[in-house]
Amino acid sequence: MNILVFIKQVADTEARILIKGDNRSLEIENKYNLNFFDEFAVEEAIRFKGKVKDSKISVCTYGGKKAVEALRTAIAMGADQAYLIDNTDLDTDDPLITAKILAGFAKKEGFDLILCGRQAIDDENGNIGAMVAEFLKIPHVTAITKLDVVDEKKIIVENDIEGGKETKEVQLPALLTTQKGINEPRVPLITGVMKAMKANIPVIDPVTLGLAKESLDRNASKIKILSYETPKGRPPVKIIDGETPEEKVKKLIKLLREEAKVL
């Protein structure tokens, strides 16, 4: 079985992010990680491989040269092979383009199961998974919290739906996006880290994936960033004083009614 995992390197939540003078680009502190939700995808691929013999896990990202770090993290965890689709000079803000490239890679590589994270924590879109599935004409399930293997052609997954959970039987090939709760991603062992350091990671030119160069750049993008701004901060907190808890609460309720007008 060919298992593909699409992963993304993202700025750490603690990284400092500044808006540059033109208001159209960002300066991000050099602190990057494998996307939080993608760790679950890599971990689940490793567990899947443990259940279905002769499985191979390939991880792939569409990103800059630096993104090999995230690929190496995935290898250190237990992925077999990694690929970097190089986006140098092609950086776009349109998930349609990223999804087309990843779908192109999947077609070329072959797959039985594709795993993605539920959402990238930088763009906060949650689009890529279902889009890739649509481009490949395969079923998808978003935000899964459980994956069981029936046989080489069928899996059972559980996912969050409005107000509850649903269990679905899905025929492979399929694409799944992973949600927190599905597993506890492992911390790589030192042997894994050594293997990852030595791993040969092919760099792929996206143009070789069946898409014309003009269709991949900013001009082809259907999404355009106009500007960035910092969120308006709140005025400083009003600490409510009083002799007793009752007095404080009374003052709070009055403020919530008369000043904030939310009660």
Binding site: T13, I19, L26, F36, D93, D94, P95, L96, D122, E124, N125, G126, N127, G129, A130, A133, E134, I138, P139, H140, T142, A143, D160, I161, E162, G163, G164, E166, T167, K168, E169, Q171, A174, K180, A220, S221, K222, I223, K224, I225, L226, S227, Y228, E229, T230, P231, R234, V237, K238, I239, I240, P245, E246, K248, V249, L252, I253, L256, V262, L263
Partner: protein, 326 residues
């Protein structure tokens, strides 16, 4: 070219979700600016009784009423939306970034090769240009984006992004019939609607959120009581969910749900970045913490520095009295 607007109506437990009325209200405002029509798109089964509720909010209602659309599935819903969009060529399709919206709209966008902006919190249309407001990097940055090279754009919004304005139109109802088939590669076995009776966390106007300072699961009862008085929901920090005091579906924050209620009250929550990322777009934030240096006070509008076990009973009584007076 049409400048018509589609709003996808989302139903839950046989009623229309509040967030759909928010989108209809915003959609109406945009349609007026664009001198175009606002279509409410209602997919489902046995939805007759819901139509009257939407009439004042839209110019037209597109209704597809068939048993095959009874429960949401991406395959049937994508087919139905694709059909209607190709038939009516709207300029904008608005939906909610709920679990359903996050499943349906990216698939639909890929099907139509249409741009999608997800999890937005605002939209403006000036001189024919759409400007969409969307937080990124956990709300550390706000981006303004537009679409280009396309006749149609899809945008999904966080619940509670817009206020509800009831209109006075009497929408024309158009019954659409189309061939729909289910994708045989997916079989839904069992639906376990655990917390379905409660107000949805993302849609709640009021959230009272407990952190590790609550000390144990039994102490959440008083939060439940307060939530009930105000018709809201109890939320939890990850520390609480990891300790199994509350279910994951209650978790607010980066790895949980993003909420923006009218009023958020954090009790015994320290205000770690991963938590505040999920609630800092709330309209009004109140924090109760015994540590005056707790980070949460940097995000709050009002703060009480005290032991929450003293404050909560007083808060419960105070709110109860308030409701009784009203």
């Amino acid at each position: 070219m049409s400048k018509d607007i589609f709003v996808f109506i989302e139903c839950k437990e046989g009623s229309i979700r509040k967030t759909s009325f928010e989108l209809l209200s915003k959609g109406k405002e945009l349609a007026e600016k664009l001198s175009s029509e606002l279509y409410a798109v209602l997919l489902g089964f046995d939805t007759k009784s819901l139509i009257d509720e939407i009439k004042p909010f839209a110019h037209k209602i597109l209704s597809v009423d068939t048993e095959l659309l009874k429960d949401y599935r991406w395959d049937t819903y994508t087919d139905a939306m694709e059909y209607l969009i190709k038939k009516y060529s709207p300029y904008l399709v608005l939906g909610a970034s709920t679990i359903t919206g996050k499943d349906l709209f990216p698939r639909l966008a890929a099907r139509l090769d249409a741009p999608i902006v997800s999890d937005a919190i605002g939209i403006e249309v000036t001189d024919g240009e759409i400007k969409i407001k969307k937080p990124i990097y956990g709300g550390k940055i706000i981006s303004w984006v537009t679409t280009q090279n396309t006749p149609i754009s899809i945008v999904t919004f966080r619940p509670n992004s817009f206020s509800i304005v009831k209109g006075d139109t009497a929408a024309e109802v158009i019954d659409e019939r189309l061939e729909i088939s289910m994708d045989s590669r997916i079989n839904t076995n069992r639906i376990d609607k655990g917390g379905s009776k409660k107000v949805d966390l993302q849609e709640a106007d009021f959230i009272i959120c407990g952190g590790r300072g609550m000390k144990g699961p039994e102490n959440f009862n008083i939060l439940e009581e307060i939530a009930e008085i105000l018709g809201g929901r109890v939320g939890a920090s990850r520390a609480v969910v990891d300790s199994k005091w509350r279910d994951y579906e209650d978790q607010v924050g980066k790895s949980g749900k993003t909420v923006s209620p009218k009023l958020y009250i954090g009790c015994g929550v320290s205000g770690a970045l991963h938590h505040t990322m999920g609630m800092d777009t709330s309209k009004v934030i109140v924090a109760v913490n015994k540590d005056p240096n707790a980070l949460i006070f940097q995000y709050a509008d009002y703060g009480i520095v005290d032991d929450l076990f003293n404050i909560l009973p007083a808060l419960k009584d105070g709110l109860k009295n308030l409701k009784q007076e009203a």
